[in-house]
Each structure stands twice: as C-alpha cells, then as structure tokens.
C-alpha cells in the first residue's frame, strides 16, 4: 500500500493523514469548494477537488471520489467516519475499482448498517437487544401505521434512522402527540445525512449508561475486543464526553461485555475496526444497541489507555497483516483517558450552529493532553458540515487526574471568532472541586452538566422536540 485516498474532511481526515505519515504512505485528500484551504488539504501530499460544498455534491459523490482515486494512483481508500464511511455502495465501488477499502466488507456494512438486521444478528449471537421494531419503517409507511407500531412498543420511545449514527435522525418521543412532528424531522434529517429516510422504533430505557466496545478483526479469523468506553454524557443524542475505562464496569462485567461484542462480530465475520454499543442498565444487565462499522469519533480514548494506534491497525489489517496484539493488554487499561468534543455551537444561545472564520486559536499543550483538530487560526468553519471542529483528549494517572488535566486544557483552549462549546464543557467540570487535591468528584460532571443544561433551557425560546433541545445527561458516569 503506497498511496491512500482519504474520503473525508476535518479532524478525522487529518488524523488519518498523520497515521499514513507514520507509515510512510502517501496521502490523497479530497475537498469541496469551501474546503480548498482546509487543514486536511494543507497536510496531505495531494489534494483533488470533488465538487460543490453541499455534501451530496462532493463528499457523498461516490463516482467523483472513485475517479480521483484512479487518477491519483491511490491503491486504497480510508473513509473516516460519517459521509460514506458506512455506505455499502461506496465500499463495493472501491472493491470493483480494484481499490482496497480500509474498513469492513460491503456485506458487513449492509448487514450491521441496517439497525434492524443488526439486532437480529445480535439475537443470533445470543446477545440481548432492546425491545423494538424488527422491521424498518420506510418513508412510505403512513403515520397511522407508525403510530400503531409505537402503541405496541409503548412510550416513551426512541425514533431512530435505520441508516443512522451520531444522533442524526434520532428523536425521543414521549407521547403519540409528538410522533408526527418527530417523524417528519427524523426522516428529513436522516434523508439529508444518509440519503435514506427509513426509521425504526425502540423502547427507551430510562437512565441507562452508554457503554461501547471497540473491536478489530483481521482477515485471518481473529477478532479482538478492547477495554470499554463510556459515552453517557450526551446532548441532543450526540456524545459530548467519552472516557475509558467506565467506572460502572468491573473486570468481570468487562469480560462479559467484550465477549458478547466479539461474539456479535464473529457471527457476521466482521473485519477491520468496528464498535458495538450497549445500553447498560442499573442492575448490570446490558442490551445490544447497534454496531458502528467504522472508526469512532472517540477512538482516541481507547488509544490513550491501550497505546494502540487504531488507524494504523486499520491500514495494517486492510493490507492483510495479522492482528498480533496481546488480547489481555487490550482489556487492561493504562490508567484513564477522557475525550471532550468541541463543537462550533453557541452554548449561550441554545447551541445554535456557529460557523465562520476562526480569528484566533490557542490550543492547549503539555503533559497528558492531545488535540485532534481540523481547525487553524484564520481558517473557515463552513456551514455545510458537522459542527464538531476538534476533540480534546486527556490522559491521567487516575480518572480524577485526567479530569484535572481536562479542566486545565479547556481553560487554555481559546477559539475566537466563532462560538464553541468550550465554555460549556469548561463549566461542566469546574464545580465541586476538592481544593487540596484539585480533583473533580466524578458525580459532579453530570450534575453540573445538568446545571449548564438548565442555563441553556432558560436562554432558549424553543420546545423540547426541536433539535435545539438542551443538553441532556442520560446519566451521571459518577453514580
């Protein structure tokens, strides 16, 4: 593998470019009109235009991207996350064009990409799933039919995009009255985000923890699970804070979770990187939620506690290497890591998107701090794409130490010209600190996140069902 095309933009494109550099593999970036001067274009060896700024006219154009891959002489394609990362047609088009797709097979994507089929696979593997619709509800399905299904499952329930991920096309529905509006919004969001408006329903488990297990599978039958990540602090069904390991997972529970995850992956002959999400109930029972057949946004926390470069391993697996990592060490976290996502959204104004030019940027540094970013001073944050501009990751000898470093790093982090969620994240850590040791009590994260949520609610003239619903902490990682 000599040259890899990265079919993505922003921080993840930059992340993949760096992994390629580390392996002396040349990189080909693609860019839309508004991304000509984006960081991933500047750092790649080559950069090719693929169309206009709206995703459907550039980063979602399979034909144009395959064409660039051929012209540039790339021999492999890394899809990153989002865009075409979980698009079976893209994976197939790469294969048909003789390009190595750095990810799972089109078949695996098709299977696990359909949330309903994935649930069936989990059931086959003997892993419990959340009660819900086994069949997708296409855009043709009438509101009446959907309401009927909803009645069977019972409220409150979650409305989710069959092709979904990252909270896009997802709505919480607490009563039949909310269903039509939520359905319309979810379908149109799903359509614009994934080109597929089909949705499904799932019972809402109250106050669960979101625990996920990272997996790598090679082409020689080996599947290795990693120590879990917890992603319980979410806002608008989008992850805000992730960490590894989870305080709620004992070594014994870790064994059961990771074996269950590996079992699901083996059932479908899964290869390359993937993540299985579980809902963990207060009584310790867990349910298969979905499998993400791609690299996760939050993969760095796993890298920080295991020392494994997941992107590099995606590439090594794709070129046929054997997974010769020590399975035990992958389940034995080195201390603790936390990730805080930085969004171009205005926390003082109901988290409205805040695109624009970055007039000033001060990035935190020092011990235990990692910043994965696609932003630079003077750069533009376009209106067309996901609002996440960077991920701040800290590692600490203990969880408290990692939190202390996160607080320090957030205080150093300055993005001027646009509004970002930095002050919100900052506020959510800086309460209830123990002066002497300078550490935050675990539970205070969610508590103060809730407090921040209240602040936003006050400042927000919108109803719950609107996408601007205030941050919600599904549960406190501390409790």
């Amino acid at each position: 593998m000599k040259k890899i095309l990265i079919a993505n933009r922003g921080e993840i494109a930059v992340r993949v470019i760096r992994a390629c550099r580390d392996m002396s593999i040349a990189t080909v970036a693609i860019y839309s009109d508004c991304d000509r001067a984006a960081l991933h274009v500047r750092l790649a060896d080559e950069a090719w235009p693929v169309g206009a700024s709206p995703p459907r006219e550039s980063y979602l154009r399979i034909d144009a991207i395959i064409d660039v891959a051929k012209k540039s002489g790339a021999d492999a394609v890394h899809p990153g996350y989002g865009f075409l990362a979980e698009n079976k047609d893209f994976a197939a088009a790469c294969r048909d064009a003789g390009l190595v797709f750095i990810g799972p097979t089109p078949e695996a994507i098709t299977l696990m990409g359909s949330k309903t089929a994935a649930r069936q696979a989990a059931i086959k593997a003997g892993v419990p799933v959340v009660p819900g619709t086994e069949e997708p509800l296409s855009e043709q399905t009438s509101d009446a039919d959907v309401r009927a299904v909803a009645e069977r499952i019972g409220y409150p329930l979650m409305l989710k995009a069959v092709a979904g991920g990252g909270g896009k096309g997802m709505r919480m529905v607490s009563s039949a009255a909310e269903l039509p509006a939520a359905l319309r919004a979810a379908r149109s969001e799903a359509q614009s985000a994934f080109g597929d408006g089909a949705v499904y329903l799932e019972r809402r488990i109250l106050a669960p923890r979101h625990i996920e297990v990272q997996l790598l599978g090679d082409h020689h039958g080996t599947v290795l699970p990693f120590v879990e990540r917890e992603c319980s602090i979410q806002r608008r069904h989008q992850k805000v804070v992730e960490e590894s390991p989870s305080l709620a997972v004992s070594p014994e529970l870790r064994r059961r979770l990771t074996s269950a995850a590996a079992a699901v992956a083996k059932t479908v002959g899964y290869t390359n990187a993937g993540t299985i999400e579980f809902l963990l109930d207060s009584d310790g029972s867990f349910y298969f939620l979905e499998m993400n057949t791609r690299l996760q946004v939050e993969h760095p926390v796993t890298e920080m506690v295991t020392g494994v470069d997941l992107v590099q391993w995606q590439i090594r697996i794709a070129r046929g290497e054997r997974l010769d990592l020590d399975p035990e060490s992958l389940l034995t976290p080195m201390a603790h890591a936390i990730e805080c996502r930085i969004y171009a959204e205005d926390p003082d104004n109901g988290f409205l998107p805040s695109p624009g030019r970055i007039q000033g940027l001060r990035v935190p540094h020092g011990p235990g701090v990692r910043d994965d970013s696609g932003a630079y001073e003077g750069g533009e944050v376009p209106i067309f794409y996901d609002p996440m501009i960077s991920k701040l990751i800290t590692w600490g000898e203990t969880r408290d130490h990692a939190i202390a470093r996160m607080k320090r790093a957030l205080a150093e982090y300055e993005v001027r010209g646009i509004r970002t969620t930095i002050p919100f994240s900052n506020g959510s850590w800086t309460t209830r600190t123990s002066r002497r040791r300078g550490l935050t009590r675990p539970s205070s994260i969610a508590r103060s996140a809730r407090r921040a949520a209240d602040r936003c609610r006050r400042s927000m003239p919108r109803t719950k069902s609107s996408p601007w619903s205030p941050p919600l902490c599904i549960c406190s990682p501390g409790q």
Binding site: S188, E189, P353, P355, G360, Y385, D386, N426, R462, P467
Partner: protein, 175 residues
C-alpha cells in the same frame, strides 16, 4: 477616554487613562491599575492590580473577537467567553440593551445563523398562531424551526427553499 460597556445586562461606565507604562481604568468609580501588552492581533496580556494596590500582578490573558456590529466583541478569559458591547460615553443612555420589545409591532423573523432555507412552512397572507412553525433553517446538518411568537398574519416572505442566508437576514414578517 470614557466608554460605556454592556456585559450581561449591566452597563458599566469605564474611563481609561494612560499613566506612564500603565493604564488607570476606572470602572463605575473603582480604579484599577493595569499593565497591558499586545501579545497578538486582538490578544492582550493584562496584569491587574488589586483595588488600592499600585503593582499590577494578577495575570489575565484577554482575547478579543470582533462581532458583526461595530463595537461588539466576544472577550475570551481563561476558557470563558463574555460578549460585550462597547460604546462612546452615553451611547447606551439610561436604558439597558437595545432591541424591540417582543410584545408589540410586526415580528421580523431573522436567521439566527448563516445557513440554508430547508423549508418555508407558510406563504404571504397566511394566518398563523403563536408558536406555529414558519420556516426551517438548516446549518451544519441540523434543522432549526423558527416559530411565531404570537398570533398574526404573514405579510411578507423574503426567502425561498434552498436559498442561502446570512445571520441576521430577515426571512419573513408577521404582523
């Protein structure tokens, strides 16, 4: 020089006077001695003396970001962002922050951020109820439904679906 600075909901009278290498900043009667150095374009390193104290030692790094309206800034202080409005003395006069009271007059529905018009849910002449959806603006893959503050009649629709709009652009008017 004397300014009025609006931060949060309070207007403060601020007078700044050079004094050798230092600044004497009088905020609502309280005098602060400040040593300010530029550390970048729109970035200052401030050393501030405790009130009554002559040697400025408290270190505050202040980053500024100009906003759309002249005199409006975001001030960044150790991870916090404080929007302020700076005006000449008397600029704010007696009253607090300007802005039409929501209770009366025609409602101008404006774009809260730059984006694309995803859907226009009403047309000129329509009668609308309070909190009824009027138009959906999409930006960064998220949809934002703008609603009527109270009952009224749509008297003007200035945008069409698919159109890109800047922040603050008037989308439609309800009277």
């Amino acid at each position: 020089m004397t300014f009025e600075i609006l931060a949060g909901n309070t207007v403060r009278q601020v007078t700044v006077a050079r004094n050798g290498p230092l600044l004497h900043v009088v905020v609502d009667g309280r005098t602060l001695v400040v040593d300010a150095r530029r550390v970048g374009d729109m970035a200052l390193s401030l050393l501030v003396a405790a009130e009554g104290d002559a040697t400025p030692v408290r270190s505050v790094d202040a980053g500024l970001a100009a906003q759309r309206t002249a005199g409006d800034f975001d001030v960044h202080l150790n991870g916090r962002t404080i929007p302020v409005q700076v005006r000449q003395a008397g600029g704010f006069g007696r009253q607090k922050k300007a802005g039409a009271a929501p209770g009366t007059g025609p409602q101008r529905i404006t774009a809260p951020m730059p984006g694309k018009i995803a859907r226009v849910l009403v047309k000129a002449g329509d009668e609308v109820k309070a909190r009824q959806g009027l138009v959906v603006v999409e930006a960064m893959k998220m949809e934002n439904e703008l609603r009527a503050a109270r009952d009224g009649r749509v008297c003007e629709v200035s945008v069409v679906e698919g159109q890109s709009v800047d922040a603050g652009a008037i989308l439609l008017v309800v009277e």
